[in-house]
């Protein structure tokens, strides 16, 4: 078996250490090593966005980042979004707008939406659609997702 490297990184504000093979993606590390299964594998090649996380403040597909690359970096995942007794406004907006059906794409959409609203608090519908184009949803037709993101922006 391949040699595993020691990596220290910050995940959702907490310092985390793990061992991983170089070929393990950040997605694999999150899911299989750290049991943070909120990021999902939909395609494993950067085309669906189900594994979206925020790496050093930028939205990335965690399937296209190696676990070893996160040494010294900061990762935000869906598990870190809500406060203990309160959902994040985007999460609330998704629930209020019924913006999920099966829910598999939801963590990715919410992380992507967070990255958008962090840098553009008042996006237009087109800006929302452009930003979220890397996140595929097959259930909703996107209507309620786009509304949820616009609502979350308005609620801020």
């Amino acid at each position: 078996m391949a040699r595993r490297s020691h990596v220290q990184t910050t995940i959702n504000g907490e310092t985390v250490e793990f061992l991983c093979e170089p070929r393990q993606s950040l997605l694999e590390v999150l899911r299989d090593e750290l049991h943070l299964t909120g990021a999902k594998e939909g395609c494993n090649n950067g085309n669906c966005g189900a594994c979206s996380v925020i790496l050093d403040g930028r939205l990335v597909n965690s399937c296209l980042v190696l676990g070893v690359e996160t040494e010294g970096k900061s990762v935000e995942t869906i598990e870190g979004l809500a406060e203990p007794d309160k959902l994040h406004p985007i999460q609330d907006a998704f629930l209020e707008n019924a913006a999920l059906q099966c829910g598999i794409c939801t963590p990715g959409f919410i992380m992507s939406a967070k990255a958008l609203l962090d840098q553009n608090p008042n996006p237009t519908e087109h800006e929302v659609r452009y930003w979220l184009a890397g996140n595929l949803c097959r259930c909703t037709g996107y209507d309620k997702i786009v509304r949820a993101v616009l609502d979350a922006a308005a609620a801020k």
Binding site: L87, C102, G103, N135, T140
Partner: protein
């Protein structure tokens, strides 16, 4: 007759019960399952579309460090000549087994041939490359009309065309022929002033759920097999695995994890029996995950088809006759949805003279699986385009011609039965009155199209158990996996009966040992049938609670009534107690209350939809943009309108993808060349406008609240609606799906 009425819970929009888990990433889907000592499985798939398997040598793979077991078809029991009854349908067991692991022939690229369990997924993947399979490559047949040619390569030596119980003598790729005939089509066409006949071709498309298939299996030392997986139906997984492994259902427990989309594609099993075989061989829990390419190449798409439609109408717009020929690709084994396609094709119309022929044809592509209203979208693309052309020829508004001929209660369907109360006319009228349809549509290269569609919906078995809690809440135990908010829509029906809030119901989707038999979440049946079972279970609770109130007040049960969440006594004693308070007194009145309901309703109630779409066509590139989309649908009664809208919007958008870009692209060797989300082009949110979902409510007499299934019919009209809009924009009739830019350029004569 059941009429729309105001309810307290039904028709409201509560937060779904599983919502918080799903927006926080806590909900556990199949691939999220973890177990101590877990091994990882990987399936080796055929690189050839059609090949005889001469030999499989697994020794090199077995020798790789970290590999714990390898299985092939030899590890499956001999299926013999058995027909397996799978609740939703019956299947030749040999086909079922061969599709799990190919025994003698690989019949499509991606066909599973062997599988490995190893200590990590990367080793399992590497081990697959070390399995030596010797193939005799055979010529593939990849298209339905070619497969029907007498000299076409045969996939199966023993398949002979059956026509309702009669079997032909010669082997053929045509597995079956069906026919419906009503009235006298020849006479009908003779009465027509205008006759349009067109041929249509549709491509192979995939359900495209975002979550790949997954399964984890484990055998206990006592032979108890447990499978954790994403599935549309835990019970059908149990049935299929039991048949394939020839193992008693009592020894199999299927635990449905959360499911990331299905649309029909997660009814058939693929890797679940493989995980079980690997678990058996290794003595460890084994998790098998598909990757995206596996999903495209190894699981059921919905078929490509060739369709010919001929319709005739009088100058006044009365459709006098219709004829259809439908040939559907079943994929590697028989079982395309040509049956429902043939039954739905003219269903929006009342036509006296009809003949419909359908053919189920095997080709070297993955065995097709259901996909949202299976068969009906292909069929409607043909018929709804021809209706549009007739309307145009006669100078009649396309919605007006639909109203002139609309099917209604009492009319006879082409396949025989008489329609009960249906909402066909209501959806067309609502579309016609909608501001979208009345808005101006005159810009150059912009066009508007409409189309209608029908889907039966199905009933089938559902079971629900309700446990009453002392605090006035109830635990609702169900077997329907929740793919789109059905925990809420089922819970709301129980809440309505008991006069409690939706939030007072705790719905749980449980495993096959914890609830009565429940058929799949599919066929638009869950809110209808499992909701019906929840209604019955709640009625059972209500009856028992009435008895408790009677006991409490020492009155006759007949003198207790229940309304608005309050029990009260009539005839004499002035007593009253709320549902909640009575729940707190169950101990003293006889102990816990458990209610149960089981149903197998026959009156699913068909659903109609009428869609209106505006497109812009780029004449230079052939690209079509969707500018505005309105989808009108009869939901019978919308239990949770938000999730009904969601079904309508999602279905319409899948139809938009099917219409414009989605297709399996094959090379001459039968390899799919676009098996990724990059090149199998499903719509992104940037490709779409908001989808205006308009709910019409024509109650279904076959359900206590009038519910009709809503999940499937919205995918039926989009392809024809968009084709009709493209015609309106540029004057070109598109008869091939998808209507991709290159096809448009060709049709416009630009290339």
């Amino acid at each position: 007759m059941l009429e729309n009425k105001e309810y307290k819970v039904i028709g409201t929009r509560p937060i779904r019960h599983d919502g918080v888990d799903k927006v926080t990433g806590r909900a556990l889907y199949g691939a999220d399952f973890q177990a101590a000592g877990l091994l990882h499985g990987r399936v080796l798939r055929s690189p050839h579309a059609h090949a005889r398997i001469i030999s499989i040598d697994t020794s090199r793979a077995e020798a790789l460090p970290g590999v714990k077991g390898v299985v092939t078809a030899k590890d499956l029991p001999d299926p013999g000549d058995k027909i397996a009854d799978l609740g939703e349908g019956a299947v030749n067991l040999k086909y079922l087994c061969d599709n799990i692991l190919a025994s003698d022939k690989a019949l499509y690229k991606g066909h599973a041939v062997a599988a490995v369990a190893a200590t990590n997924p990367h080793i399992a993947e590497e081990a697959c490359t070390l399995i030596d399979v010797e193939y005799e490559v055979l010529p593939p047949v990849l298209e339905v009309r070619q497969a029907m040619e007498p000299d076409a390569p045969l996939l199966h030596d023993h398949i002979r065309t059956t026509s309702l119980g009669e079997t032909a003598d010669e082997p053929s790729n045509v597995a079956s022929h069906i026919q419906h005939k009503l009235g006298d089509p020849e006479k009908g066409f003779a009465e027509a002033d205008v006759i349009i006949e067109r041929e249509f071709v549709t491509g192979t498309v995939h359900q495209g759920y975002i979550e790949p298939h997954n399964a984890t299996a484990h055998y206990n030392q006592d032979g108890q097999l447990t499978i954790w997986c994403s599935t549309q139906g835990a019970f059908t997984v149990r049935e299929q695995v039991a048949e394939i492994l020839q193992y008693p259902i009592s020894k199999i427990k299927v635990v449905p994890m959360e499911i990331g989309g299905g649309f029909g594609g997660k009814i058939s099993v693929y890797i679940k029996p493989v995980a079980a075989l690997l678990a058996k061989k290794t003595g460890k829990p084994v998790k098998v995950l598909m990757n995206r390419a596996d999903v495209f190449e190894g699981t059921g798409p919905t078929p490509a088809s060739f369709i010919r439609v001929k319709m005739g109408a009088t100058n006044e717009g009365k459709i006098t006759a219709a004829e259809a020929y439908l040939a559907f690709e079943a994929g590697a084994y028989p079982g395309s949805p040509v049956g429902p396609g043939a039954m739905c094709i003219f269903a929006p119309y009342n036509i006296e003279n009809v003949i419909i022929d359908g053919y189920d044809v095997v080709v070297n592509k993955p065995k097709t699986a259901p996909y949202r209203a299976p068969g009906a979208p292909n069929a409607a693309f043909g018929s709804e385009t021809v209706v549009d052309e007739i309307a145009e020829k006669l100078g009649i508004d396309p919605l007006e011609i639909r109203l002139l001929n609309a099917a209604k209660a009492g009319d006879r369907r082409a396949d025989g039965p008489v329609h009960p109360r249906i909402g066909c006319i209501e959806t067309v009228e609502a579309a016609k009155a909608h501001p979208h349809y009345t808005a101006p549509n005159g810009k150059k290269h912009h066009g508007r199209g409409v189309a209608s569609g029908y889907w039966f919906n199905i009933g089938l078995e559902s079971s629900v158990t309700i446990n009453v809690n002392a605090d006035g809440t109830i635990n609702l135990i169900e077997g329907s996996t929740d793919i789109g908010g059905t925990r809420a829509s089922i819970a709301m029906q129980a809440a309505e009966v008991l006069g409690i809030s939706a939030e007072s119901v705790n719905p749980s989707v449980v495993d096959t040992e914890s609830v009565g038999y429940t058929a799949v979440t599919g066929g638009s049946r869950t809110t209808y049938a499992t909701g019906y079972a929840a209604y019955e279970a709640a009625q059972d609770v209500k009856r028992q609670m009435i008895a408790r109130a009677a006991k409490l007040w020492e009155v006759d049960e007949a003198n207790v009534q229940f309304a608005d969440g309050e029990f009260s006594s009539i005839n004499g004693k002035e007593e009253q107690i709320s549902f909640r308070d009575l729940c707190g007194r169950l101990g003293e009145t006889g102990g816990p209350i458990v209610g149960s309901g089981t149903v197998n309703p026959g009156g699913a109630g068909g659903a109609y939809a009428t869609h209106v779409v505006d497109v812009a066509v780029d004449e230079e590139t052939g690209k079509v943009d969707i500018l505005r989309y309105t989808a009108v649908q009869d939901a019978g009664k919308a239990i949770h309108p938000s999730y009904v809208e969601g079904q309508i919007q999602g279905g319409a958008v899948q139809g938009i993808g099917w219409a414009l870009n989605e297709e399996y692209i094959y090379n001459a060797e039968g390899e799919m060349t676009n098996a990724s989300f990059l090149d199998y082009r499903m719509p992104t949110c940037l490709d779409l406008p908001m989808i205006d979902a308009v709910i019409v409510e024509v109650p279904n007499p076959g359900h206590p609240y009038g519910v009709r299934g809503v999940g499937e019919v919205p995918i039926v009209p989009p392809m024809a609606a968009i084709a009709n809009a493209i015609y309106d924009a540029i004057g070109v009739r598109m008869t091939e799906l998808p209507m991709s830019p290159d096809r448009l350029l060709k049709a416009m004569g630009k290339i």
